[in-house]
Amino acid sequence: MGKFNKGRKKDVPGVNTSALPDIIFMLLFFFMVATTMKEVDMQVDVKKPSASQAEVLEEKDNVDFIYIGFPIDAAEGTEPRIQLDDQLALDPSQVKNWKLSKAREGKTVFDIVTSLKVHKDVGMRVVSIIKENLREIDAIKINYSADKRAN
């Protein structure tokens, strides 16, 4: 029979924390690698329509995005607005200068696709005005953004 010595206190050894920095660094590197920066701050609400024949957009570096939707900030009103980069456009004709300023090294405006991300309830009037503006500067490669749906 063994003797049980209840009264004696055992010293609990301290937890070895030498691996803790390793774990923290691993997490840090994981998030650094896995994080992508949000390209623009959305000023407009864009609920995209869905389409069964939608295709995945390739070469995203070669694309400029124009957002058209209803302003998130109520002070901007309820009419559909155009967002170019981080700002709301005051006038659709701004699209022309904006697009021209986007020209990249070795690419003409004609080569760079313009992708329209438009809220599904926006009328075609504003979309059409933008397309006319783009056509005037020969930026005629346009695609329409939609979510992929099964059928």
Binding site: I68, K120, S128
Partner: protein, 162 residues
């Protein structure tokens, strides 16, 4: 235009003069062969050479279009094929109040029709399903481009009256 003719189909009926009356809606086809392609490419290249610098790349797209037709001829192994006239187009007319959602829905339906027709041609040629051709593979890419030439997607949009 030279090199163009109408192909009569069941819609054409003999009239009193013994000629075939052709429904104006009958599509017009154009014959495409290597010579025509080469001529067009040469003409475009001459124009491109004298065009201002900023517009040069616009000609590349047109030249590429004719080069693709040559590739199509090669891949089909034929000396010529009939291509539906570039005047046969789908015109889409919107009203200012049409919502973008509806517009995309219509575009989606049109695209589906085109894809279905391409799929049909794809099966006829014994290439399997159009949707299963892989852009990343060189052999398949050629097939996709050939089908895009054979079944062109020509949608134009009328200007919206503001």
């Amino acid at each position: 235009m030279p090199g163009r003719w109408r192909i009569s189909n069941s819609r054409g009926a003999l009239n009193a003069n013994g000629e075939i009356d052709i429904d104006p809606k009958t599509p017009v086809y154009a014959r495409v062969d290597k010579n025509i392609c080469a001529q067009n490419i040469n003409a475009l290249k001459t124009q491109q050479a004298s065009a201002p610098e900023s517009q040069k790349s616009m000609y590349d797209a047109d030249i590429q279009k004719w080069e693709r037709k040559i590739t199509t001829l090669e891949i089909l192994g034929v000396s010529s094929y009939n291509e539906i006239s570039d005047q046969s187009i789908i015109q889409l007319k919107n009203q200012a109040g049409t919502t973008y959602g509806l517009y995309i829905e219509i575009q989606d339906i049109l695209k589906k029709v085109v894809n279905d027709l391409r799929n049909e041609r794809c099966r006829e040629l014994g290439w399997g399903e159009y949707a299963e051709l892989d852009k990343e593979e060189a052999g398949d890419l050629e097939k996709i481009e050939a089908l895009q030439v054979l079944v062109p997607e020509r949608i134009i949009e009328a200007k919206i009256e503001q």
